[in-house]
């Protein structure tokens, strides 16, 4: 296989042998790929290749080979490095970790590729306008719901999966991953184990801020949990400890982005 200038995002890179690196990239036509890159720190005109291969930057990669691991043969910039910093940057790492954990190698997901690019752009917008956390949340939720949908883990947000009735605003529902919503008596369940009908309806319409935002976050966590396995997401726990250096309230943690 020989591929020229394929649009890609770098998800992760780590040192391999002496001066090689193993890259994990997400490409538009071939899905997630493992690439070996040699001589990244070698000097060349215009700076070493390693400087170009940064996460969150659209790349045009050429690679060849057969089997699981391909060889990087060329790289060009496909756009500007997203101006991410602070919490937006940590959130972007979280998106990459989700893809690394949930995507299989060579699983082609062009729509998800577009959604990832859009999410990175949204996060950069938030980073440059500076009104931090509140606006990070909807961008993350949009990507997470898209991810669930593309990978086939999404549930129907409009009906009660046990009886097929339409979700009612005044009812409460329990969420069963890979199955859907099931109506429960409001009094019987604590508020953090069930979802209010109004929230589900708001989320179905794409409202990820305010109260329905918190519900959306809980919903994503519930739905992703069986697929992520027991290992916690490292970027998420780091996001939580970032708040650590400063005094924080319980409410702030709850409102955290990822």
């Amino acid at each position: 296989m020989r591929v020229q200038l394929q649009p890609c995002y770098l998800l992760h890179r780590r040192p391999f042998r002496d001066n090689s690196e193993l890259l994990d990239v997400f490409s538009v036509e071939y899905g997630r790929l493992g690439l070996i890159a040699r001589g990244l720190s070698r000097r060349r005109r215009g700076g070493p290749l390693g400087a170009l291969l940064q996460p969150f930057r659209p790349l045009l990669l050429s690679f060849s080979g057969k089997g699981e691991l391909l060889t990087l043969t060329g790289a060009e910039s496909g756009g500007e490095l997203a101006p991410l910093h602070g919490e937006a940057l940590l959130s972007a790492f979280y998106l990459s970790e989700l893809l690394l954990r949930l995507l299989q190698r060579f699983e082609v997901q062009p729509a998800l590729f577009t959604a990832y690019g859009a999410a990175i752009a949204d996060l950069s917008d938030v980073a440059s306008t500076g009104n931090a956390r509140l606006s990070l949340e909807p961008a993350l939720r949009r990507f997470e719901f898209r991810l669930l949908e593309e990978l086939g883990y999404a549930v129907d947000l409009s009906t009660d999966a046990s009886c097929g009735a339409v979700i009612r605003a005044d009812a409460h529902y329990a969420l069963v991953p890979d199955f859907g919503f099931r109506e429960v008596a409001a009094a019987a369940s604590p508020s953090n184990a069930s979802f209010a009908g109004t929230d589900i309806m708001a989320i179905a319409e794409g409202h990820f801020d305010g109260v329905s935002g918190l519900a959306a976050k809980r919903m994503v966590r519930t739905l992703l949990h069986p697929h992520l396995g027991s290992t916690p997401l490292r970027s998420r726990s780091m996001f939580e400890t970032t708040r650590g250096p400063r005094a924080q309230t319980g409410e702030e943690i709850e409102a955290g982005g990822v």
């Binding site: 002496d18 005109r45 940057l89 690394l100 970027s235 780091m238 250096p245 400063r246």
Partner: protein
């Protein structure tokens, strides 16, 4: 396959732990040491054992050091109010060779990498925080690499040190000396423009 002796095999195997040394080069090195330079081999073995035994981490800055404190931390001629944070001991060498900096250092021994599970503990941030709480340091210069992970690390440290240190700065990113604008990558050039310096004719 023919083998020289168990001791020789062990030496060849041992040399292979060096970066860039495969079985063939290890064999060449071993033969060279035993055939042509036995004295050099003895010096090497002694200094290797010595270094492994004696060189540890400086308790203040995490740099490699033989004593409790490294040469830079124990040097009274250095400005104790200035602290430069770098990723590796190699970065200290680079800054020292460039000259001009007379403060102390703190070595992270890596950078934050959420996906690899390298968090604040692994890069010694609790030690850095304790150092900042001592109150002697007045200015911190963040000299982590201008990579995405380096930026994330700088951001995390900024959050942590902001309430403790009066002056925090990040090294500038720009066009290398002797470089040509045409061949500088776009994001470096953008950084160079946003971080431009006022000039005066006189």
């Amino acid at each position: 396959m023919y083998r020289f002796s168990p001791a020789m095999d062990a030496l060849i195997e041992g040399l292979r732990c060096l970066p860039g040394v495969g079985p063939k080069s290890a064999q060449r090195m071993a033969l060279h040491l035993l055939e042509r330079n036995r004295e050099g081999a003895l010096t090497l073995s002694r200094s290797l054992a010595d270094a492994v035994e004696r060189v540890g981490r400086c308790q203040q800055c995490r740099n490699l050091a033989e004593a409790v404190l490294c040469g830079i931390c124990s040097d009274t001629g250095r400005d104790p109010t200035l602290l430069c944070i770098v990723e590796t001991p190699g970065d200290i060498l680079a800054i020292e060779q460039a000259g001009g900096y007379r403060g102390r250092y703190f070595v992270l021994m890596g950078h934050l990498s959420p996906i690899d599970g390298i968090g604040p503990e692994e890069i010694g941030l609790p030690i850095l925080e304790a150092l900042a709480r001592d109150g002697e340091v007045q200015e911190v210069i963040l000299a982590t690499n201008p990579t995405v992970e380096g930026e994330a690390t700088a951001y995390y440290i900024t959050r942590m040190l902001e309430p403790l240190i009066p002056r925090l700065s990040r090294i500038a990113h720009g066009v290398p000396l002797g470089g040509e604008l045409e061949y500088v990558d776009g994001s470096t050039l953008a950084h160079a423009f946003s971080g431009r310096q006022p000039v005066r004719g006189s």
